[in-house]
Structures are given as C-alpha cells and as structure tokens.
Symmetry: C2
C-alpha cells in the first residue's frame, strides 16, 4: 500500500506499514540497537514504500552542508547580544541558513563546550563572541577551523588570532563619551565598571592589565577613559575606577563610595546596562539628582534609556549591524572566500553613536 | 607511527599521517564524494592509528542520546525569553545537557522550520514557546513526539494539545493589576496592547477572539482586564483598548489617542515592555505626568523599571523559574516519566507578583 500525502511519513507510520512496533522501526531507521534481519528488511521495505526520508542529519553527513550556522554568545540575557543574534539570524535566514545559539555565561569552559556541541552538530560556520584573550586560550576556535568549519568573531577581537572580527571601536567610543563629560566641565569622572578584582591597584597600568585580562572590550573601554583624561590633562585617580564583581549590587556600592569621597565624582561613565541601573540606584539612594548633581553617560542604548527622567545620554552600538555583518563575512567564508589577512589585524569596525539626551550638565558649584 | 597526544586528532592530521590531501581525508571520514579504494584504505588506517573518533553526530546516531536540549522561543531579544532560556540552560547544564536555542520572530512558519532543525540535529527533547493556537496548527509538535523527542510548552499553552505546559496565570495576573488601578479610584483604564487588527470591533467578544487568535497569552491578559472591569461593575469601552501592530510606535499613537478622548484614560495597563515604554513616551509627549495625571502598571519587571522616576509598579514574571521547571519536566520525560494527563488540562502554573512601586495614584480631579 502506498499513501498519497504531502507531509513526510513518521517513524510510527513506517512501523504501522511494516506491522512492527514503533521501537523496532526506530532502531532500524536510526541504525542503533538490535533488530532481527527479518524485521529489519520489513521496516526498510515499508520505509521505501512510504518514501520515508533519512533525516537531515544523515543527509548532512553525506553532503557536508547542513545549512545551519552556530552562534556562541556570553549571555543571551544581555539585550546587546540578543540584538546581535537577531542580526545574524536575519542575514542568515535570507540566505537559507538556520541559526542555533548557545550561551556561555561568560565562561571560557562553557564556550569550549559550546564549540564542541556546534562541531558535533555539523554546523556550516560559527560566530562567536569569545572570552578568549589570545591564541593560548583559543584552541577550540582553531579546532573548528581544522575541521573545515569557518569561525568569525563578533563584538570581541582575540588579540593575536588571525581571524575576521566584527567589532566596534570600544576605545574610541569610551574616549568620546568621557570627553563629552569633561567638555561639560567635569574633572572628577567615575568609571563603572572596572576590572573584577578584589584589591584596588594604584597604578593605572595594573588596572588596565587587569581589565584586559578579564575581557578584551573591558580593557579597550578603560583605555578610552584614560585617553580622554590624558587629552584633557586630567590626573588619573584609582579611587574613581570601580573594582570588584560586575553586578548591579556591586556597582551600587562602588558608586555610593565614589559619591561619598571628599572630592566626590560629579560624572559617571557606565560601560554596561546593569552598571547604568546600579549607578542610578546609588545616585537616588544618596539623594543626588541627574544631571544637577551627577552627570551620566552609559553604554548600550535602549528604549528604556529614552523614557527615563531625565532621558539618558547613551552610546548606541549597532547591534543588528554587528550581527548582519558577522553573518555576511561568515557566509562568504563558507562560500570559499579567503579569511583575514595573515597579519591578524583584519577587523571589520562598525561605527557607534553618542546619542545626546539630557543626563549631562555642568557640575554644580 | 603513533602520536602521543591528549587533544583529538583533526582531519588534517589524519590526512598528513595518510599522506593524502585534506579533502580526500575529509571525504573518506565524512563518507561523501568519491575516493579511490587505495586512498580510502590509507586514510582509514591512519585514522585508526591516530585514534580519530567519528564525530558525536555519528555517535548520537548509534546511541540515540546527544545530551542536547533544543529551545524555541518567539523572540530572543525579549528579556522575558532571555530569562526563560537562562533558566532552561542552568537546569539542563546541571544534568549534563547542552542547550541550543532558535528564535522564530513570532512566526509559526519559522517555528515549524525550527522544530525540523532540532529534529534533524537529534536533540533529546524540546522546550517551545509556541505560536500554535490549537491542534490544527501544531502538527510539528506532534511530529517531534512521533520521532521519540519529548516536547514541553513554556509561557504559552496550546489549548486542546495534550502536553505539559509551564505557564503563569496570565488572566489572573492581569485581573490583579487592573483591580489595583480600579482600587486607586480609576474608572477609565486603557489596555495596551490589544489585538493586532486593523479595525476596532465594538463587541468585547470580538476583541477577545481577535486577541486569542493572535496569541494565547494575549487573549488571557485581555480576559483578565475584562474580569476586573466586571468585578467592579465598570462598563467596557472598546475605545480604551489598543488595536493595531504590536510596536512601540503604534503604542505611542494609541495612548496619545486615549489621552485625547473627551473622557480620557486616567490609568494604563501595559502588557509588555515595549508597550510600557511606548505609553511613557506618549504620556511625556502630551505633557502629562506619572502618576499625577496617569497611573501605569506594566508586565515583565526589569531593573530599568525600578530606576524610573517614578519607579514603576510592575507584574514580575518568574522567568528563571519558568525555564527551570520546563527543563525539569522535559528531563523527566526523557527519563521515561509519563506525559501530561490525557484531558490536556495539565498545566504547571507558577506564581506572578505585583511589585508595587510609585506609578499608581488616585486620578486627578
């Protein structure tokens, strides 16, 4: 009996056609476990009559193309990464590729595990916002390449790794924001958040090293803050840089500390969304007001920032465009384009924008 | 020659060991394309000497367990779903399962495609926030089951489908919020957002049907709004329900319209984050203030809502717990537990919480 139908037949239907149990059909068609030769041949005959297709996994093993891209991000709950993923997914869908995403909770070990999952699932290419800091910690990325799976970095470059990286200029964006605060008259500008270390080094070099050891973007943003101080001839003061765990709670404590200094901060530069909300809570808790008492600029614009009272001046990252460009570069590599220049410095740098609203004013007297 | 090493050998290393090109080794080990019998046997011998392992994809085809869960959500950029995914991922990692995520942009067609990707990638189970509205549109979910892959619904039940669904009581949460607004003295409460339809039906039944046809949660939240009006003996007025596309821009236009009515709204109930920010923009644009002129309660609490001026009263959904519970139910099904009761009414309902802050006050005179 053959069946006229448009939907592909299921294992249960093959089992019914063969007159065997579902488990027997599944074992036969999946190629696992024991099935007697007689039942096996009945199942295979039924599968052929019904036009049962081997699943795409088996197909991808024979064709080498699964039309799936893998994406690894640090934290899927961060609206920034959600926007990047959206951009990747839109651009890859337009080319007939599905996108699967894994989140690593900012853990390099989880990133390595995620990379192996994607290799095992035979994706055609991978976009990763990597926590790796150099070639020594990026063997998992090299392994994907060695298995013929192209990898493109997004948001975070890995210094020394010869790979396409689609990023913004974090250092320049931070410099621009802090320069805007200094131009408004501020001399005591706090940096939230800084490196996640217990002690507070006095030397700026040690702070920068600690930040860069944690995350490439962290180091770049701290460098941009220092650039702006240098440009204006302002002294560096380690007390104005947050240290400790990168959480909203810790940001509250550190900003309250900076607001309690004898020569207190009059402006804050916050490098992430939770740093912004933590700073705002600390400002409110200490009875200060934005921007009359404290000016503030944050990273990662959102619809919330625009409806705050006052609306917040923010650095807007091109989240969708970062994702779109990363997907385009990856799809070109899959199509056989050469990868980045061997000097390893090949970066696709997209523009940020300082969205000026009403959270910056001259310092109060 | 055998090589002492800890990292698994790559295809390139097998090729070098066999003295063949990488493409030849890849074709042989991947089982695709033509390779001469002589080269094939050299590659296979080299692979055996180096201990090259067939990839996990091939392994999962022979063992039937890939230790991977699949998650399908409507919009990975929505912080609510990001929280749910985080909960699923934490709970499944604790059991040694990786989680891969696909986002469907609220499209049933994309959900169906995503389901097939996950079936093809041989995940062991699937959690889906489905756009399906009943058994007629959920054949893809049944197909996963028929292939031996358990499915658990999260956030959205599918009426008539006999499946475990981990949800909140949307109707009750909405009723509680609107009742709080009415208890503060409001008689003209706007509902943002309503069904995404072009015209504005006068009959409440038509509005509810339109909302429920769009999304299960939409229908439930509108019913809760109507329950609260009924409880208080307040009349239903179709003019106080937003219609049209569910975007921040449309919410701005609809709230401005409601604020411009002769008998204007004095309170708003907003069912999603972008509805809240749209309402706040409209309130500001028309010169009104929260809560002096307009009270507001929103769905999906966030750290932003707490730092608004005034801090916003919000319904807090247990995002992480929804994800954790969904993963637990799914892992139990994978372990062989029976699925939901055959009446199809078996739901795991988690509690919401009305977080009272400062955006609700009595109506102005």
């Amino acid at each position: 009996m053959t069946v006229e139908r448009s939907a592909p037949p299921t294992i249960s239907e093959v089992a019914a056609e063969a007159g065997v149990g579902r488990a027997t059909a599944a074992r036969t068609l999946g190629g696992y476990g024991y099935v007697s030769p007689e039942l096996r041949s009945r199942v295979l005959a039924a599968a052929e009559r019904l036009g049962y297709r081997a699943n795409a996994l088996a197909r991808s093993m024979s064709t080498g193309v699964s039309h799936t891209l893998g994406v690894i991000v640090a934290d899927i709950g961060n609206p920034f990464f959600a926007g990047v993923v959206r951009g990747i997914s839109d651009a890859s869908r337009a080319r007939g590729f599905d996108t699967i995403v894994l989140s690593t909770h900012e853990s390099l070990d989880e990133e390595i595990a995620a990379m192996h999952v994607l290799i095992d699932k035979q994706v055609d290419g991978i976009v990763v916002a990597s926590a790796a800091l150099g070639p020594k910690t990026s063997a998992h990325i090299a392994e994907a390449w060695s298995r013929g799976i192209p990898v493109v970095l997004v948001d975070r470059a890995v210094p020394g790794l010869e790979l396409d990286a689609v990023v913004i200029d974090n250092r320049e964006a931070a410099r621009e924001a802090v320069t805007a605060l200094i131009a408004a008259g501020h001399r005591r500008v706090g940096f939230v958040w800084g490196p996640p270390i217990a002690g507070r080094p006095d030397r700026r070099r040690d702070l920068v090293d600690a930040a860069a050891r944690n995350l490439w973007t962290d180091g770049e943003r701290l460098r941009g803050y220092l650039d702006a101080l240098d440009d204006a001839g302002l002294p560096f003061d380690a007390d104005l840089v947050m240290v400790g765990e990168k959480t909203e709670e810790r940001a509250i404590a550190e900003v309250e500390r900076m607001l309690g200094l004898d020569d207190r901060v009059t402006a804050l530069f916050c490098t992430e969304t939770d740093a912004v909300t933590g700073a705002l809570r600390a400002i409110r808790a200490t009875g200060f007001r934005v921007p009359a008492d404290v000016s503030l600029i944050g990273f990662d614009d959102s619809s919330w920032a625009a409806v705050m009272e006052p609306p917040l001046t923010m650095i807007e990252q091109p989240m969708l465009a970062l994702g779109t460009r990363a997907a385009e570069v990856l799809l070109a590599l899959i199509d056989g384009a050469p990868r980045s220049q061997p000097d390893g410095a090949f970066r696709h740098t997209l523009d940020t924008r300082l969205v000026e609203r009403s959270s910056v004013a001259p310092p109060s007297a």
